[in-house]
Symmetry: C2
Subunit: 325 residues, 2 copies
C-alpha cells in the first residue's frame, strides 16, 4: 500500500510514527512543509523536516517534541556571548550539525530534496521524506505590535517562527502569507508520489501553516484532488482547542473557527473525502457529513505511539470505507 | 610605545601575553597570519587569529594551546555521524560559534579585518588584532605520499592544515606555497601600524608558515624594512629543535637548517636588526652578528606568562640597544 502524508512538525511526526507501527509494510512518502524554514546564523534550518526525520529516526527530544535528544547548547551560548541572535530560537549543538551539513550541501548546489535525502541516509526514518518544494517558501504573519506608551501599534510582517516562537502567538495573526509559494514548484517526486498513492492522509498538523502551506504550492492541491484515491484527514482541533500549539491563532487569520468541523469545511469536499474528529466532537459529525465529507468520531489524542497507531488505523479504515462507497 | 608584532598561533599568542604583562601600557598591534585559514563544513576557520584572540581574551584551552576551554564536541560527533569530514580537525562546539559568526559576517559582505574586530569586541584581547590581509591566502605544502604496496608515491599539494594536523608533518615538505599571497593586499591598518611603530617584533612563531606568510603579502616586508625602527625577533628554534610544532619540517622545504642562527640569516639583516637565541644556543651569537644582526642569548622557553614577559623585556631591551647603536 502506497501512502502519501502531508506533514508539518510535531503532530505530523508523531502521527507518522503511529502509521509506521500500524502498517509496517506500507510504502510511505511524506511531503514535508518547508514554509517554516528559516535562515539563522547563516544556516538553513528546516524545523518541520527535521522534526519528522529525528522523530522517525530515533533522535528526537521526546519531551519537547522537537530538537535532539541528549542535547547541549554551547554554540548558542557562545553566539549570545558574541551578541549574535536571535536568542529565542533554541538550536542545540547536535541540531546545529544538521544545519551545517544542509547549508554546506545547498551551497555546493544540491537542491533541498537531495540534501534531505542525504540527511535521511543517516536517520533511516523508514519513510521517503520529500520537502514540498526545492524553492524557497517562507511563511510570514501580519501582526500589529503594541505601540509604546499606548501609542499606535506597528503593523508588520514577521517570519512565522518569530510569530510562533518569539511572540508565542500572543497577538492576533491578521494574515498568513506563504511568501514565494505562488512561484514554487513541487519538489521532484512530489506529484509522482501523489499520482501513485493508494491513499492520501492529512495528519493532525496545522491546517494553515503546515498542510495549508504545502497545498499552496501550485500543482499539489490539484494533484491531490485529481488523484482519484481516498483523501482522509485527522482533526488537529479537539473540543474546540488545538491539541498542540496555537492553531486557533492562525485559523482566525483565514477566517476559520477553531473547531474540528470548520477545519474540515476549510479543506472542503473537493479535496477531502474523509475526516476524523475526536470522540468529544462526535456532535460535529453530522455537520461535516453535510459538507460532503465522510466523518467518524474516534479518540484523537496521541498520548503514545500505540494511540497514534490506532488513529492511523482508523484513518486507513475510513479511507477503505470511502473507496468502497 | 607603539609595538607591532607579526604573529602566528600558539607561540605568537603566548609571547603576546608576556608582552602585555611586560609593558601593560604599550599600544600593541598584532598582524595575524591567515595563511593557515581553512574552509571546513562551509565555515571559515582562522586558527591563528583565533588562537591569539582566545589566548589574550582568556578563552584558550591552556593545556593544548589552541581551541576553547571547557569545550565539548557534539557538533563534530554529529557531523561524523552524517559521514561529513574531515574528522582530523578538532573543532569544538564553542569554537564552532566563532566560525559561524565569522562566516555569517563574511557572507554579509564584511571584510575579514572588520569581522576580526567584531569578534575581538567580545574577547577584548588588549591588542589591536588585524589579519595580514582581507584577501584569501592559503598555504599549501607539496608532498609525496607513499604509494600503495611500495609503488610509486603520489606527489600532491595539500592544505597546510592537512600537512600539519592530519599528516603531522610525517612526510617531507617539498615546497611551501602561500597560494594567493602574491595578489593579496595588506589589510587596512597593517601598513599604517608598521609605519607608526616604535618597534617591530617577530615572536617565536614559525618563520616559514607564520611570519614568512605574513611577509609574503606584497608591501609588508618592504614596509617593515623601511620603517626605520628596530626589528627584533626571537628564535623559535632552541638547541637545534623547534620549541613547539614541527618548524624544522617546513624550514627544510625552504632550504634553511633548523638552527637559531640559520633562521636569523633566513630573515636577513635587511629585515632584522636584532635576534634573541636561547642560552643553549649562545654559541651561535657570533654567527648571527657576523650576518649583521645584533644578537643576545637569553632563556627562550615560555614555561609560563612570567617567562614570556621576561623574553618580551629582553626583546625590547635589544630593540633599545639597536636604536641607540
Amino acid at each position: 500500500m502506497r501512502i502519501v502524508v502531508l506533514a508539518g512538525g510535531i503532530g505530523g511526526a508523531r502521527f507518522l510514527r503511529g502509521l509506521k507501527r500500524a502498517v509496517p509494510d506500507a510504502d510511505i512518502t511524506v511531503i514535508g512543509n518547508t514554509g517554516d524554514d528559516i535562515h539563522l546564523f547563516g544556516l538553513k534550518v528546516c524545523p518541520d523536516l527535521d522534526t519528522v526525520m529525528y522523530t522517525l529516526g530515533g533522535g528526537i527530544n521526546e519531551e519537547q517534541g522537537w530538537g535532539r535528544t541528549d542535547e547541549s547548547f554551547h554554540v548558542k551560548e557562545e553566539l549570545a556571548a558574541y551578541g549574535v541572535g536571535p536568542e529565542w530560537f533554541g538550536l542545540g549543538d547536535r541540531d546545529f550539525a544538521t544545519h551545517i551539513v544542509r547549508t554546506q550541501m545547498l551551497g555546493a548546489g544540491f537542491p533541498l530534496s537531495a540534501v534531505t535525502e542525504a540527511l535521511c541516509d543517516r536517520w533511516q526514518p523508514g519513510v521517503r521524506l520529500i520537502p514540498m518544494s526545492d524553492d524557497r517558501v517562507e511563511t510570514h504573519v501580519a501582526v500589529t505590535l503594541p505601540g509604546a506608551d499606548g501609542g499606535p501599534g506597528e503593523r508588520k510582517a514577521v517570519h512565522f517562527q518569530e510569530y510562533w516562537v518569539r511572540l508565542r502567538a500572543s497577538v492576533p495573526a491578521e494574515a498568513v502569507v506563504p511568501v514565494g509559494a505562488e512561484h514554487a514548484k513541487p519538489a521532484p517526486g512530489v506529484l509522482e508520489a501523489v499520482a501513485e498513492a493508494d491513499v492520501i492522509l492529512f495528519p493532525p498538523s496545522n491546517p494553515v501553516v503546515s498542510v495549508g502551506t504545502i497545498l499552496a504550492v501550485p500543482g499539489i492541491r490539484e494533484a491531490i484532488a485529481d488523484a482519484g484515491v481516498p483523501v482522509v484527514g485527522l482533526s488537529p482541533i479537539v473540543g474546540d482547542a488545538p491539541v498542540r500549539g496555537m492553531a486557533d491563532k492562525v485559523l482566525a487569520a483565514v477566517g476559520v473557527e477553531a473547531t474540528a468541523a470548520a477545519v474540515a469545511e476549510h479543506y472542503g469536499s473537493g479535496l477531502l473525502d474523509g475526516w476524523l474528529v475526536d470522540t468529544v466532537d462526535a456532535g460535529s459529525v453530522e455537520r461535516v457529513e453535510a459538507a460532503g465529507i465522510r466523518c467518524r468520531a474516534v479518540p484523537l489524542m496521541m498520548t503514545d505511539v500505540d494511540a497514534a497507531a490506532r488513529m492511523a488505523q482508523e484513518a486507513l479504515a475510513l479511507a477503505e470505507e470511502v473507496r468502497s462507497a
